[in-house]
Structure formats: C-alpha cells, structure tokens
Amino acid sequence: MSLSTQPAASGSKTIASSALRRAGLMDRDATMRDGTDNAGGRKGRTRSGKAARMLDINRDKPSGSRPQTIRFSTSATNGHSSQTAIRGASSRPTLAGRIRRNAVSGDGESSTPSRIPVKIMTPKPVEAWRELVKKRWNPETKFLNLDSMLEDEVVKKYNLNPPGNGGTGRDAAVIFKLAGQLKPEVETLSLANNKLTGMLLIQLGRYLPSLLNLSVQNNSIRDKKELGMFIGTKDKFTKLRELVLVGNPVHDAALKHNDTAAFRADVARRIPTLQVLDQDPITQISFDAPQATPLVSVAKPNATTFPVEMGPAFVTGVDGSLVSNFLIRYFQAFDNQRDALVFAYDGAATFSFSANTAIPTRARITGYHSSREMPNQRKLEWGSWLEAGSRNLNRIGSDANKTISNLHIGGEQIVKVLTVLPPTRHDINGPPEKFCLDAFPVPHGQNMGLLVTLHGQFTEVTSGGIRSFDRTMMLVPTADGSGAKLNGWDVTILSDQWIIRSYSSHEAWKPGPMLVQAESTKPKGGIVSAPSPQPPQPFNVASLPPDQQAALATLPETRQNLVIQVCAQTNLNAKYAHDCLNGNEWDFNRAMANFNNVKASLPRDAFL
C-alpha cells in the first residue's frame, strides 16, 4: 500500500485503470482544487483560507469543524462574530447530524468576511441548491463536481451553509435529491473537501444508487460506524466501481494502525461491485455475472413439476467400497476417538463447521420438535456449537478475525477443534436410508480429486437429541510413505466442511417422484391451475419497523429465528411475537397454540 494522507502527493501515482482519473475526478493536486476548476466562475480566491481548511481536515476533529474555519477567517479580519464561533465549537454535533449554527439570524457570518456584504434576494433554499448543482454539472462527462462547496460563488451569494460546514442532513439530502434528478444520470460524483460526516452522507445512496465513481476525499467520516451509515452493506451503491476515501479520519486511523488491508477488505465486502479503492485495484475473484438485460429473450419459469425424480445415492468414477470404507472408519473414529483422525487430513487440509440454526419448515409442520419418538429434541441447544466457532459466513462474514480463526488448517489444528465439539453418535452402520451419499471426481489442479457429500443425522450424546448434518469433503489419493499411508488411509482429506442443522427427516431424499404443490383430495378435473407460478416472498426481517429490527438483533440467534418464524406464521410484529414466545418458554408450538387462542382479542397494532 502506498496511499498518502497528503492529497497533494497523489499526482505521482499512475494507475492506468483509474476511471476517476479519466473522468477528471482524481486530480493531480486536490489541495489546489475548487469548484472553479471545472465549473468555471469565481477568481481570486485566497489561498490562505483554503490551506487552513486542508489542515483542519487532516486533524481528527469533530465533524462540525466549521468553527475552525470561522476562527481562521475571522482572525484575518477583526474577530467578527467570534462569539458565535466559540459557541458553535462547544456544541459537538449530535448523532442526528444537526450541526446547527447561528444561521437563522443571518448574522453575516460569511466564510470570507472580506467580501462586501451585498444583500441579495435569497431564493428558497432548494432553488439556491439547484443553482449550485446546475452550475457544477457537466452532462457531457456525466460528472457532478460538488467538491469544496463552501468556496462556491453561489453559496456565498446566498449565504448558504453547505452540509459539513453548518448545513444539516436535510440540506445534504436536498442536494443529493437534486443530483439524482439530473439527466443523463450522474456517473461520477465528487464531494471532496466538504467536511462531510457519515451521517450527512446517509441519504446519498438513496438518491444516487447507480453511481459508478465517487470521491469523498478529505471529508470527516470518522469511524467504521459512520462509514456504515455512508456505504451501508451491499445494496446501497449497486454499481459503484471506484471510490476515494483518502483524507477521512476513518482512513487515516487505518493507515496509522497499519491496518489498511483490513480496511480495504471491509470496504470491498460492503460494496461488492467495487473495483478500485483509493486508486488501487481491489484484488478479487470474479464471475461471468449475468447481464442486467439478457441478450436473448428466454422463457420464464413455468414448469409445475420437477424435471426428474429424487435419485438414490450417486457414486461414480470411484470404487464405491473405497468411499464407504473410508466413511465408516472416519465416523467411527469421529464418534469415539477424534484425535485418531489426525492422519486422515492432509498437512494443509482445511476444516470448518457451520451451524444453520434456522427452523426447517417441513420438520416443524410435521411436529418433530415435540414428537414422542424423539423426546430429547427440546434439550438441544445451539450454544455449544456457536461458542466453539461456527463458520456460517452468513453470520460472521463481516468479522474478518472470526472468518480466519474459525478456519482450521492441518491435521493437528483440526483434531484440536474436533475434540472440543459436542460428542456425537453417527449410526453409520444402521438403516442406510438415513444417510445419503453423492461422490464424483472433480478437477484438482492438474490432477483429480473426489468430491464427497454425505447428508444424514447424528445424536448429540449429551442431550440425546438428534440433529441433521451435511458433510462435504474433498479427497485425494494418499501419497506413498506419508503418515496417512502408514496409518492405513487410502485417501486423504484436503477440505472438510460440516453443516449442522435442526433435525429434518430422511424422507426428504427418499428416491421417487416429488411434488411441487400438494395434490387435491378432490377428484381430478376440478382444479383450476393457478395463473402465475411465482413463489411467495418469504418473511423479510426488513419489513419490521427499525426499532424492532434493532431489538431483534440483541436476542441470541436461536431466539431471533424463533421470533422471525412466529412473525412469518402469524403476521404478528416482532414485539408481540417475542412476548408470545417469552410467555411460552420459547417453545414454538406452545406459542403458536397460544396465539391461535387469543388472536381474535389482539389489538390491531400487534400485527405487521
């Protein structure tokens, strides 16, 4: 990494691929830049005022650093309005981002006091902002340059307070909304040098979700939390290719702590489309992603039956007894003496396990959680699995440390974690229909490996409860003379992933025809086929009010799942669903029964 905190130093960088540079957004000397460079207009700006602001930006100050600017400006004159400035400085910006200053009175606290205060008829704020946006817009390059707004003639003319320099989140939203209305659509946006906080940028993605290139160089995005407000996760900027974050406290802190790799990884994760960050390409694996508009028109899904039946175990390209012998030996050791498995793994092998704590719909409807045949299901707890380091990337993907620490490499490391996982009993010699095996050869570098997937169930010895699992292993032939060979393993594990989930019946993979919808019990001919074969939307947590989402997030994962399940079934809001479960000892079936008894008497606001 060779990023510089000094924006001026960026001129020496040559990144041919930089779309921002092509668009003229990353200039050679950001400190020399203001609105006049591109938008034309005012001349004779004082250098000193600009330089002072740049210095301010590089300090880790509260975002409402307007007072510093004022102080500098006023010290150059006669201390004009210093009272206001000091008062402003003492009021730290609230989370709501309302950086209020004494603007309502229109006390002439202009950023350049040297100007003669000519009274201009002030239009409505939105019209004034519209004039600024129009002036800074270049429709040919689709480039909207809103850098250094404080310096702009329009801002001065109307005595406006740009967001970051006294303006509020509402001002920011107005500007972004106006920008979002421009035609053609804005592709490149610079908001450099505006002291913008993450809070002030919160609405940017809402109004300009399709930006390709964006610079927020030299602003006041303080920390990860503010970064999250700005760029969110995954769906805020859906096309963004290039982003400049240099010169924000959050970035400076990453540099200072020698943590830029993690910082870049975090940003890349939040914006999957991003290709270049701070002028350096993002290392990534890519796919032939589907086109937004397919080149050929294709038939919509309209089948009402499955293309083929459920098939039995599928093992090909390998002697079936080799696989079954391996699995029998593996699981016997797994259940009885896990440390004996050290030689079953390659020295570089990878292992992780993931808990899928969701409640399976069909198992729930069938009532397996409270069936007499399986009396111990209620005793099952997810805690021991989650604490031991579940690597469900749906849950921990945002935690870089966990994604690394929960991946175990090499036989010794692997058996170390295997031995602390809850004891299990796999009835591998029992009824064969309780397991389902698929195995076939796959390319492994220049050679071939064997991909093995095993689905089945095991008993958690401590509670006696039964869980289902999916186990995926990549196997290769064991090398002669290796520890694995000496210990009698004909194949060695290169990669091993284990998904543990709530119990579902092995009926799921019973060979034979499968139904898409239930068949009517009425005589045939009376059924009218449904018009549109679109499946219903599953319950979405995002449909809950934000405060309930936040409250939900504080619950343990298993309880979150229960609440979501109850919401989905009953249309209760999360609060009522939670109370209903809580009053029924977090037993789903009891809660549902309780709901059905009282639903007629519930107030309307109990429901979503």
């Binding site: 899904p301 993931s354 994604t403 520890g483 139904l515």
Partner: protein
C-alpha cells in the same frame, strides 16, 4: 506433522481467506438471484462451462448444456441462503474454492398454490431444506475485465440435494 501427499502443501494467508470469503459471498448472492429470476435460462449457464459436472438430487447432468436442460423444466424457485462456508483448496493456485450452502427453497407457488381442501400437517408446497456444494475453479482462458481480478471463476462441480 509432516504428511506428504500428492498435493503441494501451501500455506493459506489471511489475504487468501479474505478474498475467498468475499468471492463466496458475491457468488452465493448472484447465483441464487439469477436462479430465482425470470431470466434464469439466460443467466445461469454463464456460471458453467462444458466440462462442469452437476448432480441434482442424485441425477447427473453435464456442463452448461446439461444445466439448461435441467433448469428449463424446473418450477419457479425462491432460495433463501441460511448458512454458507467457503475454503480455498490447498494445493491449487489460484486456489479452487469449495463452497457449501444450506438454506431453504420454495418451488412453484409455495403453500399458496396448494388446494384448499388439505389435511392439517401437509408439508407439500412448503419450503424444502437444500444443501448445495460448489467447486469453483479459475478459467485461465477468460480475459480479465476488472483491474484487480485474480481470475474468472466458474462452477467446476455442483451437487445439490433436498435434505428437509
């Protein structure tokens, strides 16, 4: 421990793991979005090559063509990924990625498409639990289209089962 197998023992760096995790995140999102879209017949084959091996509930299909054959006759789907995991496979460079996914999938109209005269506790039409494994491998012939691109990856193998 010093087992020497047919593979070259290479140490995975945190960066390898981070890139693989990010790739799996992206892949699972765009793959199931494509699968569930009306345009899936145009979109899904992009992920496959003629050499790709697929099994769908124990029935084999070969390559992008086999996938098209399978998906043409598939009812509409709605997938919900509840859990996924990804390993870079040791001994390959750039590494192949092994991805496992657990979630549920609703077919056709789901419960809403069931006739109204059903007995209680009927599970048909309800979401199924699925388990899907992908082996993603780099395509050395595909020209890079992004500045920091390691390689373009495609689905070398894909095995799916309904498991609940």
């Amino acid at each position: 421990m010093s087992t020497t197998t047919t593979t070259v023992t290479t140490n995975l760096t945190p960066s390898d793991i981070e890139i693989a995790t990010r790739a799996a995140d992206t892949f699972t999102r765009i793959y199931y979005t494509a699968y569930d879209a009306d345009t899936r017949l145009a979109d899904l084959p992009q992920f496959y090559r003629p050499t790709s091996s697929l099994t769908w509930n124990g029935k084999p299909f070969q390559g992008a063509e086999g996938l098209v054959q399978l998906v043409t006759q598939m009812p509409a789907t709605k997938h919900e990924v509840q859990s996924f995991d990804c390993h870079p496979i040791p001994g390959t460079s750039p590494p192949s990625l092994l991805i496992t996914v657990s979630g549920n999938v609703t077919h056709g109209l789901g419960p809403a498409g069931n006739p109204s005269d059903l007995p209680t506790r009927c599970i048909e039409g309800q979401p199924r639990v699925f388990s899907q494994t992908f082996l993603l491998v780099p395509d050395p012939t595909a020209p890079p289209t992004k500045p920091g691109e390691v390689a373009k990856y495609y689905v070398g193998a894909d095995a799916v089962r309904f498991v609940g």
